[in-house]
């Protein structure tokens, strides 16, 4: 395989699959570019639709970029570059349903799987798929359009989504089930889950961690966007959960906490040994990272809708700057 420019090359990454950036592991410059692209594309779409989950892209851009260009071993996308319209919910009577996981490549014993839990991050994920060459940039124009599968809050027919997350705390349990099944089958590929920090208020998440520790499910890794935000504002003011790392460790998981915008730190975190336990990579992030304008709205960042044409124009200006960079 090819590796990127030196940093963060994984010792065990000796398989032949190539990710769509052309290399299995991108250089940090490329990861950085992908992260910038995620922010830019989500900003573009937010301006176009006069609304969007923009802050989530700001906080998670490096995490998603790392997943798609560094952490995960995925085969090439099997999804249509321009996603087909919604084909109906899964059902024995519906042969047309296509699972969004196809954008993460084939399911093979040695390949990883990706599961998005907070599905309002779909916009950021779609942008990541585009940056990773797994979906056409034009697909974003179909975002939240009637009849489109590129939904605002993604379903498991939406590009990149394999399970129905979105009702918080359920994806990690589903992923744990997938991971145990893969262990039983002898697969070497891992299961990666992306979560938001608000989800850790849900009891089910802690049930999942308990069960994973008990059954020594160690082929699962969770990347968490620790942005200290939820709908009502700052998590520590809405419902404080204290130290996520300490709690996870107390529940029998491995957890490592790093600056979620620091690629090298994230790469190193991915090397943390976690035999017999799941690994949680906690990326501490800033919910307006890369788009300082958003700070004016802090801590009310959940869904950005411009209040005036003047405000929108300022974001348009920000977009021009980002395009030039």
């Amino acid at each position: 395989m090819q590796s990127g420019s030196g940093l963060g090359v994984r010792a065990d990454a000796n398989i032949e699959t190539s990710c769509t950036l052309g290399v299995l592991m991108a250089s940090f410059d490329e990861v950085r570019q992908a992260a910038a692209g995620i922010r830019r594309r989500v900003l573009e779409q937010t301006i176009r639709a006069n609304g969007g989950y923009l802050s989530q892209a700001c906080s998670s851009a490096e995490l998603l970029a790392m997943l798609y260009t560094h952490y995960m071993r995925l085969g090439p996308s099997l999804g249509a570059p321009i996603p087909p319209p919604f084909q109906g919910a899964p059902s024995a009577r519906n042969p047309h349903h296509v699972n969004g996981g196809v954008y993460n490549g084939a399911q093979a014993p040695d390949l990883d799987r990706f599961i998005l839990s907070p599905t309002h991050y779909a916009m950021a994920l779609y942008a990541a798929l585009i940056e990773a060459g797994r979906m056409s940039p034009e697909a974003l124009a179909m975002f939240n359009a009637d009849g489109s599968s590129v939904e605002m809050i993604g379903g498991e027919h939406s590009p990149g989504l394999e399970v129905t997350g979105g009702s918080f705390g359920q994806a990690i349990s589903q992923a744990a089930g997938v991971a145990l099944a893969r262990k039983l089958r002898g697969d070497t590929g891992r299961v990666w889950v992306f979560m938001s920090d608000g989800e850790f208020q849900e009891g089910q998440v802690w049930e999942a961690v308990t069960v994973m520790a008990h059954h020594q499910i160690d082929n699962l890794r969770v990347v968490v966007d620790v942005n200290n935000q939820q709908v009502d504002g700052r998590m520590d003011q809405v419902m404080n959960i204290g130290s996520l790392r300490a709690k996870l460790e107390a529940f029998g998981a491995s957890a490592v906490e790093v600056d979620g915008h620091d690629l090298e730190a994230l790469a190193e975190a991915g090397e943390t040994p976690h035999i017999g336990r799941p690994l949680f990579i906690l990326g501490r992030t800033i919910p307006y990272r890369g788009i300082d304008l958003l700070h004016e709205r802090y801590p009310h960042l959940h869904y950005i809708r411009f209040k005036s044409d003047a405000e929108r124009e300022r974001y348009q200006e920000q977009l021009r700057v980002m395009r030039d960079e």
Binding site: G51, D146, G147, G155, E202, V231, M239
Partner: protein
């Protein structure tokens, strides 16, 4: 994000239409007295109403599941901060917690999206609230197709699930007047109440001085061809269709149902019994377990032997899109009702989308004298 097409009236077609009395011998004058005003649209009705309602009722507390503005309880939080409790994303805990407060004499008004109550925390609702018959008000937002949030956010089977719970009273709102009066209606109930609430910009379909009544449907018209029962946001669609249907000579009894449980309104039985061609139900819910099922049970129990036609989401999960799109896709809109009526009476009425879009809905005030059944 997307506005209802309630305001997008086109009046031209309406004026040009002539009335076809296709089945005139069944046509009876409907009792509606339509006011000569445009349909009034209101925003954040619940936000204001709850604050007003709680002013003289110190036992009212609000529990909120991190969707405070989305559920219009931000005004309450700012007005009565000492009676507002942020529960974060702990819905199962929140329901049981509400039960605990209710045991101590408070009346918790739990606010989150409906799915995160009845689906996420059903056992908690049953064992911590319904079984002990506690005064908890579950204010459930985003019924059915009113959210583009996809399957995770769409409460399409809440009535089917919750109607099966002993002790529970279930109310549904379809306009601003319903929303303004629903808390008062619930107040009289000595036990838990689940409310399907609509939010944001909503129409006033019913006169403000005619509040919702427990266990009694609103009579919107009287007729003998078809008994039409609608709930929630489907009533606005139904009114759009019935307007044109009446012009074409279809005689309908139209009831707007707001109490889904208990369900024993004599007006419903009477309407069904007098419907020559049959009964149509129309709801923003799957056809399993909601209004259609409740009506079927009542008709069967009373031996009403006419056909029942259920308009609602077919037996499937749905996806995220605009409300208008979903109503069209799953056949919940005015046009779907027209087509169903045509099928039921076996006649084509030559009504198209333009005819329906042209309908000017006005705030409905019932004719009180004639209404006394």
């Amino acid at each position: 994000m997307r506005t209802s097409f309630g305001l997008l009236f086109r009046t031209t077609h309406y004026a040009l239409r002539t009335t076809h009395h296709l089945i005139t011998h069944h046509y009876t004058q409907h009792n509606a007295a339509y006011r000569d005003t445009m349909l009034e649209m209101l925003t954040r009705v619940h936000a204001r109403n709850l604050v007003e309602f709680a002013r003289t009722r110190p036992e009212v507390v609000v529990l909120s599941g991190d969707l405070t503005s989305s559920c219009e309880v931000d005004t309450f939080r700012d007005t009565y901060p000492e009676r507002f409790f942020s529960m974060g994303l702990t819905e199962q805990n929140m329901m049981s917690f509400a039960g605990g407060m209710a045991r101590e004499g408070y009346t918790p008004y739990v606010h989150t999206f409906a799915v995160f109550m009845y689906r996420r925390a059903l056992d908690q609702i049953e064992m911590s609230i319904a079984y002990p018959n506690l005064r908890v008000r579950m204010v459930g937002f985003l019924p059915g197709v009113t959210t583009p949030g996809g399957a995770t956010h769409q409460a399409i089977d809440d009535l089917g699930v919750l109607r099966a719970l002993p002790n529970l009273t279930i109310l549904e709102t379809g306009d601003a007047t319903d929303v303004e009066s629903v808390l008062g209606v619930a107040q009289a109930v000595e036990g838990p109440v689940y409310i399907r609430l609509i939010r944001g910009e909503i129409p006033r379909l019913f006169a403000a001085h005619e509040p919702m009544q427990l266990g009694r449907a609103r009579v919107l018209s009287r007729g003998t061809d078809i008994a039409l029962l609608s709930t929630g946001i489907c009533t606005e669609e139904a009114m759009r269709a019935t307007h044109v249907l009446r012009e074409r000579g279809v005689s309908l009894t139209h009831l707007h149902v707001t109490t889904l449980k208990p369900f024993a309104d004599p007006a419903v039985i009477e309407a069904a019994a007098n419907a020559r061609y049959g009964v149509i139900t129309m709801e923003n819910h799957t056809i399993m377990g909601g209004l259609g099922t409740a009506v079927a049970e009542l008709m069967a129990e009373h031996g009403v032997g006419v056909k029942l036609h259920r308009i609602g989401i077919p037996d499937t999960y749905i996806h995220g899109a605009s409300r208008q799109y979903l109503m069209r896709e799953y056949g919940l809109d005015a046009l779907a009702l027209v087509r169903r009526v045509e099928a039921v009476i076996g006649q084509t009425l030559d009504i198209d989308e333009d005819d329906l879009a042209a309908v000017r809905l006005n705030t409905f005030a019932s004719d009180q004298q004639q209404e006394a059944l």
